[in-house]
Symmetry: C2
Subunit: 380 residues, 2 copies
């Protein structure tokens, strides 16, 4: 007789943005947040304060009335948490079987190879000579830690093993394993998002173009301008294939490189993702509603866009200490402002702005201009 309860581990903006969708659907959102100041703390219907590494906190998250499902807003989930969910009889979605491919880039690359999906040249490296051999063949390349990277962290461009000595030493001493990937001569970055429910239904959104600055997503345009119908269908098919073959439940974002020769898989995220924030204001069903639907094994919603073009521009921390005053300064009536309730630090993702429109360039310019005003009044 009670409404569905979805438990979420992680109290950042991704959990925060699940709350409006949950409220609309009458779903109770219970979130494990690190503090009462977390982005998702006040917006959630029930906030449990604690860390996922704290068994007591996890027990409170799983306590009666028991959640119908547990999901995540990030992939850094200790295996013990998933085991605690299983012990409590609460499904964890996506499960560890899928999640490991979002947690570990070596496992992911190996699995893409098995599936015949487009990888860059890559290899696992344990020693300087492994790395030198790869560099000799491929030139300057991208070294990554298999685990723990995000937003440009855990990624380093190297042209010699000497530049990687600290990471190689760490790996030899129990630190993160390493892989090296050939630099992909991409013309741009795309993302394909799909949702999949346990009973198998999948739905993909239009493929988007993502513009990164300093390794962090800056703007997303939906659909990707000028993308051929063939490439678009290929990208959506790759996302659907990965979701199905890896048994992903919930939302999956596949970051892709577009090259003259075709598409290459870059990274996977098994949760709502920055490349999908445009769906809140630009699609019939947002990635946040869809994630809740998918992990609860409910019918998935329509992913059609609401306008010819939607552009999402991130707000990174700038000169303002508090963003509230920005609400009065953005005069564009079509700028949909999203603030995450986080303390402002330089470069930190603290909000985003979305604009829909009939002209791609104008829509892009409006979104970027409004985001700049939110960031610092447009002065920079």
């Amino acid at each position: 007789m009670t409404p569905p309860i979805v438990a979420v581990i992680g109290g950042g903006q991704l959990a925060r943005m699940m709350a409006p969708a949950a409220t609309a659907l009458g779903i109770t959102l219970r979130v494990l947040v690190e503090s009462d100041q977390a982005a998702a703390a006040a917006s959630s219907h029930e906030a449990v304060i604690g860390l996922p590494t704290d068994p007591d906190a996890v027990a409170r998250l799983l306590a009666a009335p028991h959640p119908d499902v547990v999901t995540w807003e990030h992939e850094h989930i200790p295996a013990e948490v998933v085991e605690a969910c299983e012990a409590a009889g609460v499904p964890a979605r996506p499960g560890l079987g899928a999640l490991r491919f979002a947690q570990d880039k070596i496992d992911m690359r190996a699995r893409m190879d098995e599936l015949g999906l487009p990888n860059p040249a890559w290899r696992q490296v344990s020693t300087a000579s492994d790395l030198e051999a790869f560099l000799a063949e491929h030139g300057t390349a991208v070294l990554k830690t298999a685990r723990g990277g995000y937003d440009g962290k855990g990624v380093r461009v190297v042209s010699s093993a000497a530049q990687a000595r600290d990471w190689l030493d760490a790996a030899a001493n129990g630190g993160p394993r390493l892989l090296v990937e050939a630099k992909v001569p991409f013309t741009r970055e795309l993302a394909a998002q799909v949702a999949r429910r346990p009973s198998g239904e999948t739905r993909t959104w239009p493929v988007v173009e993502s513009i990164q600055r300093d390794g962090v997503c800056s703007e997303v345009t939906a659909p990707a301008p000028g993308l051929s119908a063939e490439r678009s269908a290929q990208a959506r098919a790759i996302a659907e294939r990965i979701a199905t073959e890896l048994d992903v439940t919930g939302v999956l974002a596949v970051e892709l490189f577009e090259t003259d020769a075709g598409l290459v898989v870059n990274e996977l995220a098994m949760r709502p993702h920055n490349s999908g924030h445009w769906t809140i204001d630009g699609a019939v069903t947002s990635q946040f509603e869809q994630h809740l639907r998918a992990v609860l094994d409910l019918p998935l919603g329509d992913t059609a866009p609401l306008a010819p073009w939607t552009v999402m521009a991130n707000v990174l921390g700038g000169t303002r200490a508090s963003l509230g005053e920005a609400l009065g300064e953005v005069a564009d009536p079509g700028a949909k402002i999203h603030l995450y309730g986080k303390g402002v630090r330089p470069g930190r993702k603290v909000g985003h702005v979305t604009v829909t429109g009939a002209d791609a360039r104008e829509t892009y310019d409006r979104a970027v201009a409004a985001a700049a005003i939110v960031r610092d009044g447009g002065a920079a």
Copy 2:
């Protein structure tokens, strides 16, 4: 340095639906709810439990950190509450000067007459002979209590004073004052919504058609099918004029009758209104976001529709004891389901469904079908 705080009096679905908009904008929503089971209790960022007639509860609502503004989800606000807001230095929007025209139908009719806006024939009645004189001139008419009515309550069709004896007796003994209105030979009911901020800016949404059943709103179609551009402009102008002349701040809904001869003002609501629920999924800016923007004196958002047609169908309490299971039964991927977290009682508004589309009739049929499934599995 803190985000804006909006305090709301009333814990029903209207306050509940302000929460997603507040979360997106980084606004803290503090709501005075009658109990922790109220529709708005869990969704609000801060819930204060108590009644607006309880000065202690109102004091907690106004306590530090003080809200930037206090607003309402219904018009039944004791004057003492507004005075407490004024004493605390917190603006109350809309203020009593405007609110009385939504609280009192006699004051409203008199003001519409002053403004030259289209009223039905009406008069205040204190005695049976007042009423008989009106009925002799106009035939069967509509008797209303000046205050306290909603959703068909406080309204009675009468053809003789004998049918009104209880209300007349009550009025003579300190009960609600009465007015009688000529029955308007309307072809349909429309609603015009407008938002106005204290600094004067107004924005209207497309005029909608509202279908009532048993005095309760059942479906709303936006825009009103077949409405002439002239009538649409007239309805929007009436709403803007009322908002401006009555100094309304926030959202105002003007319910209108359309007759062969033109438009007639029916009722006013100075808050988000059932006739505007379509804007959540069907307009660039929802009435809930706009209300928050307006009462905070922020720039108003774009009111353009997102699709050629949007239809909202209410879910009234039916045969289900709990609506959660309905989420798995609505197969239409474009049906946007909104559940209010309220206990189900027959006829009670417990949710709504919105569908957008390119064809008015198909969109209407889909919304009604999905709402029927939510209500009771579609059996009735």
